[in-house]
């Protein structure tokens, strides 16, 4: 990872001082990298000029530049929308786990902050709901100036909560969200899969689009432990004595089966699913968001 892209590394981002700075760093780095990507044109804000090439939409040709320089330039700009976005961040106990430099909650916070920053740049209205087995923090959606700061402050103050119960907050929120929009769920989904699916489907029934960021730690994917130990559940304190070498294959298969289950069931429900490993760059999350937003709009 080199140049600006290295700032998308979650470990690097974690060293930055405030969530505000973190979010800006993530998004700016992401957008800079996006110059070389095929995803330009999503924003209404001016992005850049470039030489006209055959095949370009003539509507994008900047005639003023042509008049001044007698050369054809295409004006690239950010897209303008009136989307309302709800950021749902899971702060349950299991989100406090982290085998590396950051926990899942930190990763989710950075992702939520970056999304908020990006939404703010795109003039979208956005809000934040943090929950464990209940809603612990709520910032209503808004597109006002200064709203970004409120969301980022709320993210900054989040603490690890109790056990996960995704379904209940989702049902509550589904009833509360009346306006068509986009719901972004950031969670490790360590709950009963069917409950989670039922909760998310409530949004779909009401016409709300949903994108799920399944945040997971690398150790949860590979279970790389070596020595025998007692594994204690962070939320329930349930203990299981296990020899990793003996249970690893079974565990990984179960985890992959659960991920596959989410991917399949959410896909069938028209919900975008994005698996995010906390060691992976945050741009993957932003990219997934933009893809969903594009589809929604």
């Amino acid at each position: 990872m080199a140049g600006e892209a290295r700032y998308l590394d979650p470990a690097i981002v974690a060293r930055l001082a405030t969530i505000d700075l973190k979010a800006r760093t993530i998004v700016e780095g992401f957008l800079t990298g996006l110059h070389r990507s095929p995803y330009k044109g999503f924003s209404v804000e001016f992005a850049e000029y470039r030489q006209y090439l055959p095949g370009d939409d003539l509507a994008t040709l900047d005639w003023k530049v042509y008049a001044r320089s007698d050369r054809h330039f295409v004006k690239k700009h950010e897209e303008d929308t009136n989307l309302t976005c709800h950021l749902l961040l899971d702060v349950s106990g299991s989100m406090g786990y982290g085998s590396g430099p950051i926990t899942k909650l930190q990763y989710g916070s950075y992702l939520a902050g970056a999304l908020a920053y990006l939404m703010n740049r795109q003039r979208d209205a956005f809000g934040l709901i943090a929950f464990d087995n209940r809603i612990v923090s709520l910032v209503p959606a808004s597109a006002r100036t200064g709203h970004l700061r409120a969301v980022l402050l709320a993210l900054e103050r989040l603490k690890i909560g109790a056990g996960t119960n995704v379904a209940k907050p989702l049902r509550d929120l589904a009833a509360a969200v009346r306006k068509r929009g986009l719901v972004v769920l950031v969670s490790d989904l360590l709950d009963e899969p069917q409950s989670v699916l039922d909760g998310l489907k409530h949004f779909r029934y009401r016409g709300t689009d949903v994108v799920v960021f399944h945040v997971i730690d690398p150790y949860e994917l590979t279970f790389p432990f070596e020595q025998s130990a007692r594994f204690r559940d962070i939320e329930t304190a349930q203990e299981v004595m296990a020899v990793p070498s003996a249970v690893r294959q079974d565990y990984v298969e179960r985890m992959q089966a659960r991920i596959a289950h989410y991917k399949r069931e959410l896909g069938l429900a028209g919900i975008d699913y994005c698996l995010l490993d906390t060691s992976q760059p945050l741009e993957l999350g932003l990219m997934a968001y933009l893809m969903t937003r594009r589809r929604v709009l």
Binding site: S94, L190, E220, R230, F231, Q238, E239, V240, Y251
Partner: protein, 626 residues
């Protein structure tokens, strides 16, 4: 009680290696941490062993590994079972308590017990304590032990007996108990002077400390030192070992009834003879009893049997008993021995003897061969078998003996020249007057000088033959030699007043009797015994008992050794100086003994086998755990 000792105890240091698996186990336990993990619900329990079962398995593994290492170290240390209960390396204090008769004066043994209890109490705390009691023999009553109450109890149970004192036997036993360990010996005794028997062996190793606790004896002691029947009376001797004149009633008891009583007065350090007349039969058990309230008690009684002594069977073989002179002088001479009952002589000629069986002849304590001319082949074979098989034979070389067949009779060539030698007025000269046969002739001197021998047969010199007496001319008169397991005496003239007038001389009777006694020594049935030398089956305690069955039944008496009655005692310094010390090189015997015991027991092989079993078990359990 047995304890484990080790031939190479330094190898036991290797057992410290057992700490390695223990440390590994503890280290392993320390790393058995709790890991917080969010997706525990996805962990399956099926392949994970139950925690308790796993812990048990780990403990079994640990025990097997420790056992294997310890067994390896123990096997290399070469263990063996030794006769000590306390650890073989622990220092030991051996309390040696004298229980001989010289501790039997009133109150004396109680003082000895008190001293023993103090010795046990004052033994160093780290020492094992052992108890040995001794008189004629030493007994390890309590092997080295840390249980001092057991030693105290054993001291309480000890009593003074009627035995003599044998210090070297006790010291040898103490040395054996101590072995190669550090040790000290506390001897509690009256320092009896008679306890240092010259023929005994035994001492202590260098470095073994000795403390002698002297238990004072009585100021005086009376003892019946002898009692013997003389016709219708019993002659007893009462000895006064004290410095003061003493008087005592002397009572003769016959078969439990008082037969006679007399008073004896003994000057200081003197003995007095007492004749006790009474009415008693030809047989019975008697005892002479004195009163002595201050001295040793067991020597106040002397037992004796009133029964006549059983006669010793002797056969005289003559050429022809019808001649009326063959064997008569021998028969008459032996008939007077022991008051007439010591020997029973049977005179037979060769023809009669040839009808005897070997068993009949073997019952004869001795055979006197005066003539061989009527012996047939079977008779000669009988006599030869008797002699070679351990018989006692006196052979005369008179005119009735056929030198040509003599080799067949005695089984060897005696080197007898057939032709008789005339030796006018030759006399007998003993070559060694201390020989038992000639002991009666020491006084008056020269009694054998009256013997006149006219003819004799000359003997060629032979190896292994001892000349006991010679004729005045220099030829052998009486010789002794071994034949097989038997003994052969050869008199070169005759006992029938043909070639010699010896049978007519006064010296013939004692000569014949002492020769018969010499030949039959050990074949007589002894009746009087002194402790501790008693025959098998007879209790080693003073008294009268019946021994044997049937024709061999007899009454025997056992009395104390009156040497023990003496009040003479050594000083502590003399006692200590008398202890034989052996240097540590003497440990070699102990070490060799241990090595022999270890090689015989071979416990190291069992240890290695058990170690292999432990390793196999460890492999199986470990594989299952993996």
């Amino acid at each position: 009680m047995f304890g484990i000792s080790f031939l190479s105890p330094l190898f036991l240091i290797g057992a410290l290696a057992a700490a390695v698996p223990i440390l590994l186990h503890l280290f392993h336990r320390k790393t058995d941490v709790v890991i917080d993990f969010p997706a525990v619900s996805l962990l399956t329990r099926a392949p994970v062993p139950h925690r308790r079962r796993r812990q048990l398995r780990e403990l079994i593994l640990l025990a097997l590994r420790i056992a294997a290492l310890v067994l390896l170290a123990v096997s290399f240390a070469r263990p063996y079972l030794a006769g000590a209960a306390a650890p073989a390396s622990a220092p030991v204090t051996v309390v040696v308590l004298d229980t001989s008769m010289s501790l039997s004066a009133p109150g004396q043994f109680a003082r000895a017990q008190q001293a023993a209890w103090q010795a046990v109490a004052s033994a160093p705390a780290a020492d094992a304590v052992a108890l040995i009691t001794f008189s004629d023999a030493a007994t390890v009553v309590v092997p080295p032990t840390s249980d001092r109450n057991a030693v105290r109890s054993a001291v309480s149970a000890a009593t003074a007996g009627a035995g003599g004192t044998r210090y070297r036997t006790a010291l040898a036993s103490a040395s054996e108990v101590i072995g190669v360990r550090a040790g000290r010996v506390v001897i509690i005794t009256d320092l009896q002077q008679a306890g240092w028997e010259a023929n005994d062996a035994g001492g202590l190793l260098d470095g073994v400390a000795v403390r002698v606790v002297a238990v004072a004896g009585p100021t005086g002691n009376l003892a019946v030192t002898s009692a013997m029947r003389r016709d219708r009376s019993v002659m007893a001797t009462v000895q006064n070992y004290g410095p003061d004149e003493a008087r005592s009633l002397v009572t003769l008891m016959v078969d439990g009834q008082q037969a006679e009583q007399a008073t004896a007065t003994m000057a200081p350090f003197s003995a007095s003879g007492v004749e006790l007349r009474g009415t008693f039969g030809d047989a019975g058990a008697a005892q002479v009893v004195i009163e002595d309230t201050n001295g040793y008690q067991p020597d106040n009684v002397r037992f004796l049997a009133l029964d006549p002594s059983p006669a010793v069977a002797i056969t005289a073989v003559v050429a022809d008993p019808t001649g009326a002179v063959g064997g008569i002088y021998v028969e008459r001479a032996l008939a007077v021995a022991g008051g007439g009952g010591e020997f029973v002589v049977t005179v037979v000629d060769g023809r009669v003897l040839s009808k005897w069986t070997a068993s009949e002849l073997s019952r004869q304590a001795a055979v006197v061969i005066l003539g061989t001319r009527t012996l047939d082949r079977h008779g000669r074979e009988l006599l030869k078998t008797y002699l070679v098989g351990g018989g006692q034979v006196l052979l005369t070389l008179g005119p009735d003996v056929d030198p040509g067949t003599l080799t067949d009779v005695i089984g060897i060539d005696a080197g007898v020249m057939p032709a008789p030698v005339r030796s006018t007025d030759a006399t007998l000269v003993a070559t060694d007057s201390r020989h038992p046969i000639f002991r009666p002739f020491l006084l008056p001197s020269g009694a054998l000088g009256d013997v006149q021998v006219d003819q004799h047969r000359r003997l060629r010199d032979q190896a292994g033959r001892v000349v006991l007496a010679r004729l005045s001319g220099g030829d052998a008169a009486l010789t002794e030699q071994a034949v097989g397991q038997g003994r052969l005496l050869v008199f070169t003239s005759d006992f029938d007043n043909q070639w010699s007038r010896f049978p007519l001389q006064p010296s013939f009777v004692p000569f014949a009797v002492e020769t018969a006694r010499y030949l039959t020594r050990g074949r007589q049935q002894r009746r009087d015994f002194t402790l501790p030398d008693v025959p098998a089956g007879v209790p080693a305690a003073p008294g009268t008992v019946s021994s044997g069955e049937g024709v061999t039944a007899r009454r025997v008496v056992v009395n104390v050794d009156v040497r023990e009655s003496s009040l003479s005692a050594t000083s502590v310094d003399e006692f200590t100086n008398n202890i034989t010390r052996t240097n540590r090189a003497g440990d070699r015997a102990v070490v060799d003994g241990a090595r022999v015991a270890e090689e015989r027991q071979r416990w190291w092989q069992v240890g290695l086998l058990m170690m292999l079993v432990a390793l196999v078990g460890e492999a199986l359990v470990g594989r299952r755990a993996a």
